[in-house]
């Protein structure tokens, strides 16, 4: 590793974040496994979805559409639409991780909401890498184990909701977001993204609201920063003599 070593205290801090997000998210593999078998997929097909597709919203969409008697093409299309945001995360993670060659394969496979969220919440590059790999691996291992458990024993273990695990994940993301809200512009982006996600949620399958909210951040980023001049059509900053010209 060419990145500077993390102090022990920071390393433990990041690992605790990885594991709490891993447990809170991984527990839902039980629900997925049970639902998948109930939808008519066999044990191996259920295991294949968690091991190969590995993206919660897409997996629930596939088994949901199969359960409703939908066409395979519809299941594949919905799953892929939901998976588009992972491509967006990959764009960003490829810069933070600095992975090359074959290591891009496991990195890509572990690129999901949770691993990206924990990674980008860290200020320093070595913690970003630890956050990504730690969370990605924790979720991957737990999600696949609990998928098998859910498929074999169904919901006999009890609903993860009973232990409040469905409140643990948003609380963890909120704690990761917290230090980033110091700037007024960041607070505005956070508020707009939350409102957009909540407005879109009732009208779109899971995963789409976050994608739409992320697109809002891209639009905000494309707008010129407050207090600076617009660029001309060629993308060059306008010269002082252009300042008085109408847009």
């Amino acid at each position: 590793m060419h990145a500077p070593r993390l102090a022990d205290q920071r390393r433990h801090e990041v690992i605790r974040q990885c594991l709490s997000v891993g447990v809170a998210t991984g527990a839902y593999g039980i629900s997925f496994g049970a639902l998948s078998v109930a939808a008519g997929l066999n044990l191996w097909q259920t295991i294949a979805l968690s091991a190969l597709l590995f993206s919660g919203a897409s997996q629930f969409a596939v088994v949901g559409i199969v359960a409703a008697g939908g066409a395979g093409a519809a299941a594949v299309a919905t799953s892929s639409l939901l998976g588009m945001r992972n491509g967006l995360y990959g764009l960003q993670m490829s810069r933070l991780l600095g992975v090359r060659g074959l290591r891009r394969v496991p990195a890509a496979q572990l690129t999901i909401d949770e691993s990206t969220a924990v990674a980008i919440a860290q200020p320093e590059p070595s913690a970003q890498r630890l956050g990504f790999w730690g969370t990605g691996l924790a979720v991957y291992v737990l999600w696949n184990l609990t998928t098998i458990l859910g498929a074999v024993v169904g919901n006999a273990l009890g609903d993860p909701k009973r232990f409040g695990l469905d409140a643990a994940a948003p609380a963890a993301f909120c704690a990761l977001l917290w230090p980033r809200l110091k700037a007024g512009e960041a607070r505005a982006v956070a508020a707009v993204a939350a409102v957009i996600a909540v407005i879109v949620a009732p009208h779109a399958p899971a995963g789409i609201p976050v994608l739409v909210a992320a697109l809002a951040a891209i639009v905000a980023g494309l707008l010129p920063p407050r207090g600076t001049r617009k660029r001309d059509v060629l993308g060059n900053p306008s010269t002082p003599s252009d300042d008085e010209a109408p847009p």
């Binding site: 605790r16 974040q17 709490s20 809170a24 066999n42 294949a48 979805l49 190969l52 597709l53 590995f54 897409s58 596939v62 395979g72 299941a75 594949v76 799953s79 892929s80 998976g83 992972n86 491509g87 995360y89 960003q92 993670m93 890509a108 496979q109 909401d113 969220a117 980008i120 909701k161 009973r162 409040g164 469905d166 409140a167 643990a168 948003p170 609380a171 993301f173 909120c174 977001l177 980033r180 960041a186 982006v189 956070a190 508020a191 993204a193 939350a194 409102v195 996600a197 909540v198 949620a201 009732p202 899971a206 609201p209 909210a213 992320a214 951040a217 905000a220 980023g221 494309l222 920063p225």
Partner: protein, 104 residues
């Protein structure tokens, strides 16, 4: 399309989408505008995840239940500078307790 075809096709496309992000050359992403976008993205992503995971029901509709109470406790804990793990455990315990009492 057989079930196996559906499973493997969906998995293959999911991986292709993830991998695409890693093979786009970095210089395509250089520049002031892109660095502003990448600074905004985490904030929007985290905030949207919090909102969706707290306020949507499994059917997709909006709802206020024990999770919202858990989030309120988490925000209070953050204002009091509680450490990460304490924030997460307090939120889960709040939601679990409220459900035991029959709410949310």
């Amino acid at each position: 399309m057989t079930l196996w075809t559906t499973v493997l096709l969906a998995s293959g496309l999911a991986f292709a989408l993830k991998f695409l992000g890693y093979v786009v050359p970095h210089r395509v992403l250089d520049g002031v505008v892109v660095s502003r976008v990448t600074a905004m993205l985490p904030v929007a992503l985290l905030s949207a995840l919090v909102a969706v995971q707290t306020f949507t029901s499994s059917g997709g509709g909006l709802t206020v239940d024990a999770r919202a109470a858990g989030l309120a406790v988490a925000v209070t804990a953050l204002l009091l500078r509680a450490p990460f793990l304490v924030v997460v455990i307090l939120a889960a315990a709040t939601a679990a307790t409220l459900r035991d009492l029959g709410w949310g």
